[in-house]
């Protein structure tokens, strides 16, 4: 059940890498139990926002508040304790190459020793079964798995500590449409089985429409007018098709729009320069 009390609050968040501003004054709140999809074109700062939520990236300005606690105020031990309440599904699964599938999934259990050693195998097998993977993959190394299987192992590893928040970074990128739908289905099943709050970063509109209660669209800072907000859409999935902002509709429909014109202009510019040089 979705309650009104926000679990995650992002206040005036800005992130800059060197001279490059990625996020500027982003404000977002996420109520407990909600599934939020953050969409936007590549390089707009979706993943940076996701990583800032768990303290993997330090903001240049602003703050992230998780369950009434400001992440920047926490010491390493407290931050570790808070991070154990999260599960993070990375874009390329980020499984440890040197460990087997079973060791990867059991990794958080072993690190925090929350359950007895003899229960590890049972828990790992159960988590893998939840994501549709057989016991035969337990002894395999990540390099021996397909992209879809790796993502599912990543999801099983994220679920193993019974997290309150699940963060998905591009869960369907690089997968065929059928496997992408399997992952979408797993996200929905996880949500129905466990009382989790989820944030799904994606540029796949099928995923956003299917799994999310709410969609937020971020626009790249480099293309943004001065002082314009970086979040250009925040609403329910049904509303996004009726959005008035052309930038939103173009993204939803997958239209290049003025990008194509820019491309043509640059191409023409180069051609005319070339003509000039040869003429």
């Amino acid at each position: 059940m979705v309650t009104t009390k926000p679990l995650i609050e992002v206040h005036h968040l800005s992130v800059r890498f060197g001279h490059q501003i990625v996020l500027r004054d982003v404000h977002l709140t996420l109520p407990r139990g909600q599934t939020l999809a953050i969409i936007g074109e590549s390089g707009c700062g979706k993943t940076v926002l996701l990583k800032a939520m768990i303290g993997l990236i330090q903001p240049t300005a602003g703050e992230v508040i998780f369950d009434n606690q400001r992440l920047t105020d926490l010491n390493e031990k407290e931050l570790t304790r808070q991070r154990m309440r999260f599960g993070f599904v990375f874009q390329n699964a980020a499984l440890f190459d040197s460990l087997t599938v079973a060791q990867n999934v059991a990794f958080p259990l072993r690190q925090h020793q929350t359950v007895a050693e003899e229960d590890f195998e049972r828990i790992v097998t159960a988590r893998l079964a939840e994501v549709g993977l057989p016991e035969s993959v337990l002894a395999k190394k990540p390099a021996e798995l397909s992209g879809g299987m790796r993502k599912r192992v990543g999801l099983a590893r994220a679920l193993v500590m019974n997290p309150e928040v699940l963060l998905y970074d591009e869960p369907t990128t690089g997968l065929d449409p059928i496997m992408a739908d399997v992952i979408n289905e797993l996200i929905m099943r996880t949500r129905s089985r466990y009382p989790v709050t989820s944030v799904v970063v994606t540029h796949d509109m099928n995923t956003a429409r299917k799994v999310a209660d709410r969609i937020v669209m971020i626009y790249p800072h480099a293309r943004l007018a001065e002082d314009a907000p970086q979040i250009i859409f925040d609403g329910q999935p049904e509303m996004i098709d009726r959005a008035q902002d052309r930038r939103v509709t173009q993204f939803v429909r997958g239209e290049a729009g003025e990008r194509l014109m820019e491309l043509n202009e640059q191409g023409l510019g180069r051609n005319s320069l070339g003509d000039g040089e040869h003429g």
Partner: protein, 296 residues
């Protein structure tokens, strides 16, 4: 008719003012470039110092996990044994080849044992073993950690509530700190054996005089001297390589650059440390044994 060459090359002569302002602009650009380079260096030194501080604070606050320690020790120690043994043996033999001709001219060939063993224990054993290990272990650690950084495995580790310094760096640091001195002893031993083999078996030097001279000139202090240096070399290789791996830039190029930088920086630091530790240890020696003969 063609125009004079000077006119053709420079149709619009540049005024003195233009040239002067151009020079000032160039100078300004150079100053800005140097300022940026200096800032980056200061940032890197500060960052590396914090990295070392975090290593030592984790080292003394929590024991490393056995599951991470043994694979690191195996990788650093056991797998390096053949290459270090080979390096040591050949250094010993090469030293015999190089010094024999010179010493024979002055009739001192029986002193070869002293020269070879002293050079090996004090200098060549520790430095060349460390150089070899910086290439073998340092580059591999930087590439491994760099790949983990690029493929978000380090982020995954943090997100699961683990500390990457404790989980990834401490086992490697301890491995280098404890096993590089042990490997240096191995290189010394093999070098002594290699030098003896070449001098006595190939060059036909009398074995009694060879060992007698070696015993007379080489003492336990020389072994301590080399091992002390190798402890610092081991720590340097671990810190530099792990730091480069952790701060790897994205892509295959970034990983390659981290591996190369790990070796180059380790090698340079080994040479610098070698000089300063040499001076320090010599001062220590003459402080403890002030009556020992000095060159100057």
């Amino acid at each position: 008719m063609s125009s004079p060459p000077s006119q053709a090359a420079n149709p619009h002569p540049v005024s003195l003012m233009d040239r002067l302002s151009g020079m000032i602009a160039d100078l300004g650009g150079a100053v800005i470039l140097w300022r940026d380079v200096i800032i980056v260096w200061i940032e890197t030194i500060g960052d590396a110092t914090l990295f070392v501080w975090r290593i030592f604070s984790w080292l003394f606050s929590r024991l490393p996990l056995r599951g991470t320690l043994f694979p690191a020790f195996y990788q650093i120690g056991v797998l390096s044994l053949p290459v270090v043994a080979l390096t040591g043996t050949f250094i010993g033999m090469v030293l015999a080849v190089q010094t024999y001709t010179q010493f024979r001219l002055i009739g001192f060939e029986s002193r070869l044992g002293a020269v070879i063993n002293m050079s090996l224990l004090r200098e060549l054993g520790p430095v060349l073993a460390a150089t070899m290990l910086a290439g073998r272990i340092g580059s591999s650690m930087a590439a491994e950690l760099g790949t983990m950084r690029v493929t978000e495995q380090i982020d995954a580790l943090i997100s699961m509530g683990s500390n990457p310094i404790h989980y990834l760096v401490i086992p490697r640091f301890l491995g280098c700190l404890l096993l590089i001195p042990s490997l240096t002893v191995m290189a010394d031993f093999m070098g002594v054996a290699g030098g003896f083999f070449y001098s006595v078996i190939i060059l036909d030097i009398d074995s009694f005089h060879y060992w007698n001279n070696a015993r007379e000139f080489v003492a336990v202090w020389d072994l301590f001297y080399g091992i002390t240096k190798s402890v610092f070399f081991g720590a340097t290789i671990a810190i530099v390589s792990c730091y480069r791996g952790f701060h790897c830039t994205p892509g295959a190029e970034g990983v390659g650059r981290a591996a190369t930088a790990a070796f180059v920086y380790s090698f340079v630091l080994i040479l610098i440390l070698d000089l300063f530790l040499g001076i320090l240890l010599d001062k220590m020696y003459y402080f403890i044994w002030p009556d020992s003969p000095k060159l100057l």
